[in-house]
Point group: D2
């Protein structure tokens, strides 16, 4: 989905290409239960919901302006499967149904307690985290080692051609690290 399709405001947003890779790494199934922690504009929640026939998405966000954007985007894209939760992680996650999948888009300092909590709720949960700070990358790698989890790390770097006159100037975006762990190793029938 194009970035400009979403109602955005001033809230930072995972860009189209990185969002596509992160959602692919989630390996959602038609009936998955996804937590989108630090949901921002809700773009990951919405795009994930549209790929699931019967799944549910819990979009957790503490910033009030962002919560309004998620609600607006939910309405625009008919994202009935998305439940918007105004609150902080991990506290707000405690009472939710156990997740099969978790996306961490920007909860920098709270990654550790969130990962621990969702693993308690479902030891075979699939977790995907996007980070751009090297220190967050290092912290999450340490944490996965401490927890005995095997993590896959990919770095995704996108440049977009920007029209200038008759030319395409390639504009580099920020490289994003996408860390994935847990979940099923095999393809499961649907």
């Amino acid at each position: 989905m194009r970035d400009e399709w979403f109602i955005r405001g001033n809230v930072p947003m995972t860009k189209c290409e990185v969002r596509a890779v992160a959602i692919a790494k989630l390996e959602l199934r038609p009936d998955s239960i996804l937590y989108d922690v630090g949901a921002g504009t809700g773009s990951v929640s919405i795009e994930a919901a549209l790929q699931m026939r019967k799944g549910r998405v819990y979009a957790v966000e503490r910033n009030e302006e962002a919560v309004d954007l998620i609600l607006a985007n939910k309405k625009k894209f008919h994202g009935e499967q998305v439940t918007v939760i105004h609150g902080s992680a991990p506290e707000s996650l405690v009472s939710l149904p156990a997740p099969t999948h978790v996306f961490l888009g920007g909860s920098g300092g709270k990654m550790e307690p969130v990962i621990k909590l969702v693993l308690e709720k479902n030891p075979s949960v699939r977790i995907v985290a996007n980070v751009i700070a090297l220190e967050s990358l290092c912290r999450i790698l340490s944490l996965t080692k401490a927890l005995g989890l095997s993590a896959e790390v990919v770095s995704v770097w996108v440049a977009r051609g920007e029209r200038k006159g008759n030319c395409h100037l390639m504009k580099g975006q920020n490289p994003v690290y996408i860390i994935s762990m847990g979940g099923a190793d095999q393809w499961e029938e649907r």
Copy 2:
């Protein structure tokens, strides 16, 4: 979907991350009609099919070994929506139903006649092409200018962490250019 889930043989395959971006750029709808031209292992056909409830995919491939792989993957993933066509483009496309979406994964020399043909069949078709040769990139940019089409170009570069002992060594993959053109500018209700 993970690359290792697909049955592969020796046929080159669009890698997981790039496949995810290319499919996102297609902007498929639940009832789209997609041509996957130069379908290779069929990984794009399969992953696209699994995202559409009622759509159809025509996977066109001239290499016989690759056709067998597509059929095997179709079976493994229950891709009933995928029709496998053993033949060359653009000839094999002539008699097919008009496409709403076209993916060009590797038909180097034939891009020009394929693009012209599918535009005749559906002037508002959405076309996404992946290229890795600079000369193919240049040819497709020239063609879009000659045809008066506005093309978006993104370059996607992925590095994957490879486990070595206790470390992740980042291994760079080949950068891929993804060119998109045509289709609807607005999100359409489903």
Copy 3:
């Protein structure tokens, strides 16, 4: 050399890392004669000059503000080997001594006549061009084929860690294509 060491104004400047690669690709020798065409702030001219004991650099620039910057940088870095020429290429190059090396940093539309002229002056000249527009890349590839020259193309993508609090956020710069052609194939004794 660090970007912030140079006196800069509002003139665009080849960044430190890309400048280092471009100068390495020039394969300068202690007594080379370098044209820096579209010299901008003069950063390539200065850094190249400081690597040559007896060489000469002709920094050609048509923009007056940029010419003043080159002169200021020449003074700051004691770049006595640099001759600053206020004028347009290829006209301004006609009367200069034949070059052994040519750097094209930004002369978009004029690349073709400049390359033809310097090849006339010295058929074994080494030429390095930096481009960021895809269309410039395509044009220079076509030109090298038409002239029967073998070109090396590298794409260089740099992200710089930007301090934010206690973290390094990786900020992607624009990818640059560096095209090199001509010159000696073997290392020559000095």
Copy 4:
């Protein structure tokens, strides 16, 4: 300098473009004293030496096959300024003259004691380290914080066009992290 100019054997080698950036980050002066720790084929030692009129390079390498390559390259390129030392770091560095610059190309596990030792020898030494493992990157970032040093981190990603028929296929190399710290903030007259 081109990679193929060096005598190489089976020893891993910092590639041309990354070598150029790393040497630029060293900010060598005509009379610098450089330690090249884990010198491999000696390509950094040689290229650095050729840029200094009166400097000295100590190429430290524990692998015997690599030591022979450094000696062969020293001979080929007339690198009289390079002293080759067969031994391990940090032990082999103890008796050497204090360095003004240190390059760490591959001493994974030994980075910490090496950095501590060279800082003792010269508190204002300039240190540049190339790493490709994320865990090494994390360790060096932690170390610089513990030592109160401000580190610059850049990630450099290079793709090289490989000729195939009439085309250039872009082949991605591995991204390298280049970490720089210490040294003079201002350009110093020569």
